[in-house]
Symmetry: none
Subunit: 228 residues, 4 copies
C-alpha cells in the first residue's frame, strides 16, 4: 500500500545518531527533521507541478527549483519520476482517507448530515489543490493503473460505502423514499464531482454555485425543504 520507503529514507531513520562527544545543539531532530522537511517540500512542489502540467509535461528541474533543492536530491527520496508520482498521490490522499474514515457524529437528520459532509467536501475541493488532484487522477489514471487502483480502493470505495450507509440510514428513518438509491451512491456524489471538474475547466465561462446546486440536488433526494 505504501511503497518501499526508499533506501535513503530508511538509512536516514536508522543511522545518523550524532557522533559521540559531538555537540548536539539542535535537539534530536536536526538531520532527520531537515530531511523530512525537504521531502515534504518536494512532495508539495511536485504536487503543484503535476497538477499544473500533468505527469509527462512536468520537469523534475522545476520541481526541484520550486522545492528549493537540487535535482539530485529528489532521487534521494524517490526512485524515479513515475514512482514519485505514484507515491505522491498516496501521500496526499492519505489525510483525505483519514477524514473519510473519521465519519460523522450521527446527530440530527440524515439530510443535515449529508449536507454538512458534502458542503465541507465542496468547500475543501472547489478551487483547491485537492480538487485539482481529482482531475489529475482522472487525467493520468489510465496511464497509472496503480494510482487509479489506489484511489479506488482508498477513497472511492470507502467514500461510496459511507454514502451507501447514510442512504440506508435515510431510508430506514423514512427521510429517503427511493430504496433503489442505495444501489447507486454515486448519484449522491455526482453533482459534487461535476462541480469540481467544472471549476477547473469552465469556471471562467460560467461560474457554478456548487453549494446551491448541492442543495437543489439534495432537495431532489429528500424532498424540498419547507422554508418555514
Amino acid at each position: 500500500m505504501r511503497k518501499k520507503p526508499t533506501r535513503a529514507a530508511v538509512a536516514k531513520a536508522a543511522s545518523n545518531e550524532p557522533a559521540p562527544g559531538e555537540a548536539v545543539t539542535a535537539p534530536a531532530s536536526s538531520r532527520a527533521t531537515r530531511a523530512a522537511k525537504r521531502r515534504a517540500a518536494i512532495v508539495e512542489a511536485a504536487m503543484e507541478e503535476f497538477i499544473a502540467r500533468g505527469f509527462a509535461a512536468t520537469r523534475l528541474d522545476d520541481i526541484a527549483k520550486r522545492a528549493g533543492v537540487a535535482k539530485g536530491t529528489i532521487y534521494l527520496h524517490f526512485k524515479d519520476k513515475e514512482s514519485m508520482f505514484e507515491e505522491l498521490v498516496r501521500i496526499v490522499i492519505v489525510p483525505v482517507v483519514a477524514r473519510l474514515t473519521a465519519l460523522p457524529p450521527p446527530t440530527g437528520s440524515v439530510r443535515d448530515l449529508i449536507e454538512g459532509i458534502a458542503g465541507h467536501f465542496l468547500k475543501e475541493m472547489i478551487g483547491t489543490r485537492r480538487g485539482d488532484l481529482v482531475r489529475l487522477i482522472v487525467a493520468e489514471g489510465p496511464r497509472f493503473p496503480s494510482v487509479a487502483d489506489f484511489y479506488y480502493r482508498e477513497v472511492v470505495s470507502r467514500g461510496l460505502a459511507s454514502m451507501r450507509a447514510l442512504i440506508e440510514l435515510g431510508i430506514a428513518r423514512g427521510e429517503i423514499h427511493q430504496n433503489s438509491l442505495a444501489r447507486y451512491p454515486q448519484i449522491l456524489i455526482a453533482p459534487a464531482m461535476i462541480a469540481v471538474i467544472w471549476q477547473s475547466l469552465f469556471a471562467r465561462h460560467a461560474p457554478l454555485d456548487a453549494q446551491d446546486m448541492l442543495r437543489v440536488h439534495l432537495d431532489l433526494i429528500f424532498g424540498e425543504r419547507r422554508t418555514t
Copy 2:
C-alpha cells in the same frame, strides 16, 4: 539520396486495387480523395494515441505509424502537435454537436424523452472513443484553454440549454415538481458524466450499470415508475 518504397506506400498500392468485379468507374481514388483518406487516418490514429497516452506522452512517430503514413505527412495536414490536438478535438466533436442540435422528436412524456436521449448518449459514450474523448478533454483542458473553450461553447453550453428546455417542459407538464432543478441542468447530466469517467478508470474494479443508474436517477426526478 533518399527514398525507398516504404511499407506504407506498398500497402496503399496493394489495397487500392478495386476488388475484382467491382465497377472501376471512378479511377480508384482521386488525388483529393486519397488526401482526405490520409487525413482521416491521421485523425483517427491521433485520437487513439492521444486518448491512450495524453497529449504530452503521445509521439508523432506512433501516430504516423498507426495511420500508415510517414512522419512528415502529418505536417502536411497540421501545423504542429499542439494545433493537431486542438483541431482534432474540433473534428471529432463536430458530429456530436450536430446530433445535439438535431434534438428531440417531441413525442410522449418528458421522462421518456430524456430517458431516450440519455440512454442513447450513454450507449454512445460508455466504452467508446467518444467517452474517452471526454476524459481527454477533462485531462488536457487546463493546458489547452482553446480546447476547453471550444468544448464549452459547442457541446456543454448547448447540451445544458437543451436539458434546461426539457426540464422546463417537464415542469410545465407537471412531470417534474421541483422548479429549482431548471437552475442546474448539470444535475440531470451528472450521473451520465460520472458513468463515463467511471468506465475508463474503475470499470475493472467495479463495473457500473450506467443505464440502470440513469433510471434510478430519473426516478429521483420524475418519481418512481409504477412497475405495473
Copy 3:
C-alpha cells in the same frame, strides 16, 4: 535507464592523472576549472566547425564530438545554436579588440609604425583561424545583424579610428602628402582585407605574397623607399 561511461568521460578520467613525478598540489582541476575548460573546448570546436561549414551547415553534433562533450553539454553553456554563434564571435573577437586598443609605441616613422602593425596583423590573419573568422563574419553578417553590429562597433570602427589617427600623424609629419586619405582609412586597410579573403578562396590557384603587396601599397602612400 540511461548512461554508459562514454568515450569522452573515460578519456577525461584518463588524461587527468597528473603525470608521474608532477606536483599534485592543486587537486587536479576543480569543478569550475573543468567547466571552463569544457566551455573553451566547445568554443574552439564550434569556431572550427562554423568556419569550415558556415552557420547553417554546421551540426551541433559535430561540435560536440570535436569538443569531446555530449550534445546536451553545449546547452549548458549556450542557449541555442544562434546565440552560440553570436557569443562565439564575441568571445573570439575580444582579444583582438584588446590588441587594437593597446596601440603602438609611437617610435620611429609613421610608415614603419604602420608597416609594423599591418605586418603583424597579416601574420596573425593569413592562413589562421582569425582570418577565416573575418570571412565568416562577411558570410553570415547579413543573417546575424547583431554579429555585424558587434564587429563593426568593436573592431571596424576602432580599427579605422586608429588608422585615421596614424594617417593624420603621417600628414602632420609630412610623410603623407595626400590629405584626403584621412577621409578613407579603409584604403589603408583594403589590401590587407583583400589578402585575407584571397587566402581562403584563391590561395591554391595563385598564392599571394601579402607582405610584399602591403609594402607596395605603402609605397603608394608614403612614396617608394630608396633601397639605398
Copy 4:
C-alpha cells in the same frame, strides 16, 4: 567549364517542334520559350534566395514559390540543390565576364579609363544583386571549390589581367610612377571590393561614398588632380 546542360535542357532544345498541322499561333517559340522563361525565373528566384539566406539556409520551396513554379519543376532544370547553386553562379557571372572582356575603348588618359571602368563597376555593384553575389561567393566559396575555381578563372584572373594591362599602360605613358604596382593589380581593385562588402554589412552604421573613396585611391596612384 559549363556543366552538363541537364537532360531536360537538352531535350527542350532538341525536340518540341510543334506537331505538323497544329496551329502555330504563338510563333515558333511557344514551348521552348516558355521553358526558357521558366528556367530564367528559377535562376532569378534562386539567386535572390541564395543571396538573402546563403546556400544551406535556402529552401527549394521558397525558390519555387518565388519563381512561380512547382517544386518538382526545379528538378527538370537542375540535378539537385548543389549543382543548381553551381550552375547559377556560372549563369549569373557569364554576362559579367562578357563585359570584362569587351574592355576598353582606349581613349583619353589611363586614369580616366580606369576611373570610368571602376566607376561603372561600382555603380553596378553597390547595393545591387551583383554586389551581393560577390559576398555570396566569399561566403560559400570554401564549401564550393568549383564555384571559387570558376569565379577565379572567369572573373578574377581576367579582371586582374585587364587591370595589369592598364597599369602597364599607365606606367608606359608615365601616368603611373610606381612600377611595382603592376605586380599587384589587386591593390587597384581592393577599395572597390571593400566598398562592396561594406555596403552589405555596415551601410546602416556608416554609409560609405564609394565613388569618392575611389577617387582618393586613384589620386594615390596617379597623383592628386589639379582642380584647375
